[in-house]
Point group: C2
DNA sequence: GTAGGGCCTAACGTCGCGTCAGGGTCAAGA
DNA sequence: TCTTGACCCTGACGCGACGTTAGGCCCTAC
């Protein structure tokens, strides 16, 4: 560790393909503080700093905000391996999304060739900024080729647009009520919050896939990590993402005791 | 055409997975002006508007700025088919970039498993914000599986980091001198500018692939279209991208006459 | 006829840097 | 030894692409 040379900002910048200003910025906000300084105040980056920078750039490329990245890397520090695996999963997901978009372009090509118009509902496949029901289906896809996933796929494939709207509405209602609780200052491990967490679990269990309290907690962990989820949550009240996660965890404890 | 229903902002927003505010914004800056308004001033979007929105969102997903998108779509309006094909190419390029990043993560996984450190120069593969020599090699990759491409690949694979630095410096020098000309107010179709364009062509021809004036012009067309190129150019003087393109075009005319 | 959801414009806020401005540092050559 | 040019530092303002109120009109539904 650290056997290799230290680098100045400029060197790191050209290595990583970012500007010096970017590194200054990351330092200022505490996201990437170089592990050393020279006598004259020059920033000095060690190998570990480069590793961290790589992960920062990777997550930014995937659209995460800098504060979310900070939290993710703090969590990731405990287990490098599974953090890397998680990053891999996110990348593979993007691969698939990109392929969906390509198929959309192919459909557009076919449509223009035939002089027809495309189906408006499938025009934007893969391009939606964040449709959280659709995403929820993808989330547990990451949980592997589990029976749960296949079951989910089997069920959701039968839903029409109207079903999706209704299901989404039902899910949103739960979050809205949790937001109220949060605003009222109710505790996340209080009975009301736990009841709503349980309701959410059953919602998933019913419409998507069998969802045990344990799996539910794992899914909830993603809520605070993913920027698209987070943007959605924070709209409904600052700190809601973490609040929901706590409530779900509390509900799991309750259900297993 | 236009046989289908008109949509309000909210409908379009949920179809495309963007916010109403985003549509307002696109309208304000003239990027996507709905083709109609109701009596009461409501925006009304027709099918053609949705198509345009799809392309806007696709290009944004790929990192283009809104003004660049506007220009691209203006150009694209002449030939829908080749515009779609170009979009497809960009997406495939991203697919490949994502795969390179994944391979990087795999290397990181291997390194941590073995307790080693990664090679610093290959840590950021696929993550660089814009290395323009490397990009230049990719640009003509889009020109198909031409002999030129294979030749380029054969040549560039032999270059080391030092070579790249030198080649990049050489290329930058040409642009710097063009920027001077632009600042001095020299004409893009003047002798000096054309000479520099010719120098640039030979630069590519020597280090990358056989580059005729015609191919050179086609590559130059990408300069004004791609955000990464553009960012690079504008740093060296406002309007440089367009200036370079003009000079190259003028040089082509000169060389064929 | 009024309540609730959707639409309008206007205008300020935010995030991730880009871009000066003003000034030390350092290795190389005259 | 002195100077020159490349690189580093810390502010601090600017910008693109929206997010987010704020204040008010429209419209369907009970």
């Amino acid at each position: 560790m650290g056997t290799r040379q230290l680098h100045t900002v400029g060197e790191v910048a050209s290595l990583a393909g970012v500007t010096v200003r970017t590194l200054h910025h990351y330092d200022r906000i505490g996201l990437l503080v170089p592990s050393g300084r020279s006598e004259s105040g020059y920033r000095l980056y060690a190998y570990a700093d480069l590793e961290r920078l790589r992960e920062i750039r990777l997550l930014r490329e995937l659209g995460f905000g800098l504060d979310a990245i900070g939290r993710l890397l703090d969590v990731a520090a405990y287990d490098r391996r599974s953090a890397l695996v998680a990053q891999r999963d996110l990348l593979v997901e993007r691969l698939e999304r990109t392929q969906r978009i390509i198929r959309g372009v192919d459909r557009a090509l076919k449509a223009t060739a035939e002089g027809k118009e495309m189906d408006e509902t499938e025009m934007f496949e893969g391009l939606e900024e964040f449709d959280h029901t659709r995403y929820e289906a993808e989330v547990e896809q990451r949980w592997g080729d589990s029976e749960a996933y296949k079951e989910s796929k089997r069920r959701t494939s039968g839903y029409g647009k109207a079903d999706w709207t209704r299901i989404k509405k039902e899910g949103d209602a739960v979050f809205a009520r949790l937001a109220e609780l949060l605003a009222r200052g109710a505790r996340a491990d209080g009975r009301e919050a736990m009841d709503l967490a349980e309701e959410h679990r059953r919602h998933i269990d019913r419409w998507f896939y069998p969802c045990s309290p344990g799996l539910h907690r794992q899914v909830a962990a993603l809520y605070t990590a993913d920027p698209r989820f987070e943007a959605y949550f924070e709209k409904h009240g600052s700190g809601l993402a973490g609040y929901v996660q706590e409530a779900i965890r509390a509900n799991e404890v309750r259900s297993t005791s």
